[in-house]
Amino acid sequence: MYAYYVRLALKSFGRNRGLTALMLGAIALGIAVCIMTMTVYHAMSGNPIWWKNDRLYAVTMDNWDPIRPERPQYPDLPPAQLTYKDGVYLLGSNIPERKVLMYARQSVLTGGAAQRKPLPVSTRVTTSDFFSMFDVPFLYGGGWDSSGDQNALPVIVLSKEQNEKLFGGINSVGRTIRWDDHEFRVVGVLDAWSPTPRFYDLNNGAFSTPDDVYIPFGWTRTLEQYPNGGDTSCWRPEKLDTFADFLGSDCVWTQMWVELPNRASRERMQALMDGYWAEQRKAGRFPRPRDNRLTNVGQWLKDQGVVQNDNRLLVGIAFAFLTVCLLNTVGILLAKFLNAAPIAGVRRALGASRRQIFIQHIIEVGVLAAAGALLGLGLGALGLWGVHALYVTNSQVDTVADLTGGYQQLTHFDPISVIWAVVLAVVSALAAGLYPAWRIGRVAPAVYLKSQ
């Protein structure tokens, strides 16, 4: 019976090729545009470490200028980074299960076996918990221990890509390499890891690729160099004539994250920050109202404006587009079904129930929807490829983490989007077909029998 209905549907498509093509095209286009915008939006708004959303918290304290916020576009937010001294103080606490204090630097690697020329890289100078806290996968070796948080341990972790450039992808653990002309021993090589958005440091673009290499935070004092790889922001007119002045200043340039397993530990951490804040305020710091925050990853991405307004707008337009496509389909289906009303009339007269007529037509719609979904998926993939091309034109892959790198992740055709698209196609096309199929089921058979 259903197979027969499917055959009838195919026959009916053959009768009105132009109209069928128009409907198919409209459904497919509507779905393709939705897939494209949803995929990009999904990647932008996704939480790349959702399984730790109730454990990971960004630490921020508002140490800014009493008369104006750090970022005028976010007047209600504290600076996204901490001062060195506040970060180091909080790092001393053992309330968090894990804690990370870090910043980015630009540096140069030399002495790799497979790399002749000096290689400019982005370096993350970080405390040791970085890898376990953010669930960073290792291909070879591992990180370093917490003695690197204070001391300049000459150990380095390479990203998978850099290990390929420097050592041709072999297990390079134990090899030495020169980082900014200091000798380092490779202790670990990461596996492919590219959280999108790059939640742990949004400074150099939320969609840029992760850092190339990682060295212990203890190097900060030894190096005596300004952090030239991220954002350093100062407001207080204070003396800044030595590196120690800089480390003790109210300039913000370090990022801090903590892992707090439960509510109690979160409250204790908050209390620690508030207590420290009060003490420092007595000493003349923190002139703004108290605003010490522990922000989970999902909220962090929202607060810091990772999803751009343009993308929200595009999703809205995509759905308006789909609506027009569906209205179009409803109109054509209605016209098409009513055009064939005499046939339905005869079938009714021969004993088909309203239900059966309805089912017959809804199956026709279903076949159309399935074909439209398939076509839409194809078009969507094509469209994403186009979006990708738009983003990478004229921005050849860089040696240093580039703004464009992460957009490859954004335009990946992820399985969730595919499922979404199919569901969207079938549900929306069926919704579009319900009314016409119902209408045709209501025709009075007698009218059509009369004029034959």
Binding site: L29, I317, L327, L334, S395
Partner: protein
């Protein structure tokens, strides 16, 4: 001439569904069209904003020093002498950042010491005496820096110091000293260090790292950069940029083993990156809007075609009792006109509503009504065009159809 609207209306009312569906398509199409065109127009204006520098003939070289052997003074002297000696190079300067690029520095100045008076946030370039000429930004008043005024780079022991002289863009000058010329006036940094404004330049576009707002609030400082890294900026004669970039990259990447050339890129590359999202948004909006209009007009066409074929007999009858071809065409055009107009009325409300919501939500300017008028006219014409062919076909129905099957 009467348009005979009454029979058209009564027939429409009897067969509402199809017409309502088309009207809604038109409404949504109008709302999207008007707002999309408005947004695209803003983006095009933004991308077309003059940079006020010679961006077509400029390129930047990003340098990274990485050994303690690196001799900053000697290296800079040698590199700049090399760059300036190349045929086709107009001028070259060291700079802390590349204009239109993604990284840069900013500071705040006040018209009075102790952070008092008018305040301006400025995006600054630390350059040498060839800086202005290299950028190619017009000097509106005052003078450029002299070679003797260029300070050595900030080091870890004098980070608190400020430069004694500044060149600022006109927008900064007017903001700081709204009532009179800023030339020769003194401004102060947050520590109260004074600097004299010795030149005013056109409103050039600075660096994009701090957002696009206030991107032309730029100052040039007479100081060599180093603390946060440094770049070279080279201005060439028209048409010679790419060849010179290749030569320079080859020479510089081997001339000194204690530093590395991170990139050699045209300022046009950075410009593209700066406006990339705007350009892509524009491309996407135009594509989707064009598709939307195409789908909506196909919908109008489809409905009209269906109406014509469903009413063949009625048309034949009208023709048989004396209606001319023109009357038949007019009937369908009027019908389409009525549906389109209804859609447009709803669409206007929708367009204004969305425009208002967008202006609240995304701090966009309010929708300009000219766009709405344009959109209404455009959609009306599209509607009539889409109905034209079916209406013409209807008029070719022979009067004899009326008698055939009765």
């Amino acid at each position: 001439m009467s348009l005979d609207i009454r029979p058209v209306v009564s027939s429409l009312l009897r067969n509402r569904t199809g017409a309502v569906l088309v009207a809604f398509q038109i409404a949504i199409a109008l709302a999207v069209l008007v707002n999309a065109v408005f947004i695209v127009h803003q983006r095009i204006e933004k991308m077309g904003r003059p940079t006020r520098i010679d961006d077509a003939n400029l390129f930047g070289i990003q340098i990274a020093e990485f050994t303690s052997r690196f001799n900053y003074d000697a290296s800079m002297h040698e590199d700049l002498a090399y760059l300036r000696s190349l045929p086709g190079v107009v001028s070259a300067s060291v700079s802390n950042s590349i204009p239109l690029g993604i990284s840069g520095s900013a500071t705040t100045v006040w018209t009075q010491p102790d952070s008092k008076g008018q305040r301006a946030q400025i995006n600054y370039f630390s350059m040498d005496e060839q800086g202005l000429n290299t950028l190619g930004v017009p000097l509106l008043a005052g003078r450029a820096f002299r070679a003797t005024e260029i300070l050595p780079p900030v080091t870890l022991t004098d980070t608190s110091k400020f430069v004694p002289q500044l060149i600022v863009t006109q927008v900064v000058a007017q903001h700081l000293f709204p009532h009179d010329s800023a030339l020769g006036k003194t401004v102060y940094d947050s520590r109260g260090n004074p600097a004299t404004i010795i030149g005013i330049i056109d409103n050039m576009i600075g660096t994009g790292w701090g957002g696009y707002e206030g991107i032309d609030q730029v100052a040039i400082m007479p100081q060599l950069p180093r603390l946060y890294g440094f770049d070279y900026l080279v201005r060439t004669e028209p048409g010679k940029r790419n060849a010179i970039m290749r030569t320079v990259e080859e020479h510089l990447s081997t001339s000194n083993p204690d530093r590395v050339i991170k990139s050699v890129r045209s300022v046009e590359y950075y410009k593209k990156l700066l406006y990339r999202d705007d350009r892509n948004m524009g491309v996407f909006l135009i594509t989707v809007t064009a598709l939307l209009l195409a789908i909506a007009s196909l919908g109008i066409f489809g409905l009209a075609t269906f109406n014509v074929s469903a009413r063949t007999k009625q048309i034949g009858t009208r023709r048989a009792v004396g209606a001319r071809r023109g009357d038949i065409v007019r009937y369908f055009m009027v019908e389409n006109g009525l549906i389109t107009t209804a859609g447009i009325l709803v669409g206007c409300a929708l367009a204004l509503g969305i425009g208002y919501w967008l202006s609240l939500q995304y701090q966009l300017p309010r929708l300009d009504l000219y766009y709405l008028v344009g959109g209404v006219l455009g959609l009306w014409i599209i509607g009539q065009l889409a109905a034209w062919q079916p209406a013409r076909r209807a008029s070719t129905v022979s009067p004899s159809v009326a008698t055939r099957t009765v």
